[in-house]
């Protein structure tokens, strides 16, 4: 089924009005980039670039071809993949996705022990995500985006919904295995 356009969210020439779009999608975009393995500082930079590019190319958005959320996540996915490719080619130590020692604090707690444990879990999960293939990581990152249906997520990774579900299932199994045993199963 073709998704209905969100006429109230059409990109506008007014930066202030465009700010509403930023507020509406900032959490989803940050979440997606975080699941792609980016640390807090890189995520902030990339998320800003997502919205700047959306603004610069706002006249290219066609509501007849898809929803605004799909268009925004296409920009975000392309930027993330380009950044990961770029960091792989960069000299060791400067790769954006390799810096896993980032103490992002999604749930600020007063108890240092709780914060330490939360940061440890985040670091472990990010390490596990970075160890996965880019396709598997992208499938997991898109699956948790509330603004996207599975059909739209499949379209974003250029595969059928069936292939996307298979890829996602396999990626989650691997992630569960890594989180339990710290083992990467590349078979």
């Amino acid at each position: 089924m073709k998704p209905s356009p969100e006429s109230d969210d059409l990109p506008t020439d007014d930066p202030i009005v465009f700010g509403r779009i930023v507020i509406r999608y900032e959490r989803s975009i940050f979440g997606f980039l975080g699941r792609m393995g980016f640390v807090q500082a890189d995520t902030e930079e990339l998320a800003q670039e997502v919205f700047l590019r959306a603004w610069r190319h706002r006249h290219q958005f066609d509501p007849d071809r898809g929803r605004l959320s799909t268009w925004l996540f296409t920009i975000a996915k392309n930027l993330a993949v380009n950044e990961i490719d770029r960091s792989r080619r960069a000299p060791a130590g400067s790769a954006a996705g390799v810096d896993i020692v980032d103490l992002a604090d999604p749930a600020p707690a007063n108890d240092p022990a709780v914060r330490f444990e939360a940061n440890r879990q985040i670091t472990q999960l990010r390490t596990a995500l970075l160890a996965m293939s880019l396709n598997d990581r992208t499938a997991i990152a898109l699956f948790y985006v509330h603004d996207l249906s599975n059909e739209e997520a499949a379209e974003l990774v250029n595969c059928s919904i069936g292939s996307f579900r298979t890829r996602l299932s396999r990626a989650r199994q691997r992630l569960a295995l890594v989180m339990q045993q710290g083992v990467i199963d590349e078979s």
């Binding site: 020439d13 930066p15 202030i16 465009f18 700010g19 930023v22 507020i23 900032e26 959490r27 940050f30 979440g31 997606f32 980039l33 975080g34 699941r35 980016f38 640390v39 807090q40 995520t43 902030e44 998320a47 800003q48 919205f51 700047l52 603004w55 610069r56 992002a104 604090d105 999604p106 749930a107 879990q121 985040i122 999960l125 990010r126 997991i140 948790y144 599975n150 579900r165 996602l168 299932s169 989650r172 199994q173 992630l175 569960a176 989180m179 339990q180």
Partner: protein, 88 residues
Amino acid sequence: MNLSDEQLPPLTDDLLKDGLVRVPPGFAESVVLALSREAISAAPSEVRPLTIEPPSRWQWLGIALGTALGLGPLLSFVFGIWISATAY
């Protein structure tokens, strides 16, 4: 979508839902500020370019009348000097 066959640990699932990173306070404002700067720099300049247009018909008439009125006293002055110089 049924994912019961590949359930992740609840904490892992929660962390993935949260996205592992936070939106910093004031992020949207900083984006809007950057967009505003870009919009201002991209806007066409309000200063009109200096162009020299040829005078209109009425302007030509004004110039001709002004010239005629100005020439009168000048010629009178020159004629007066000539009369004075040739009086003797």
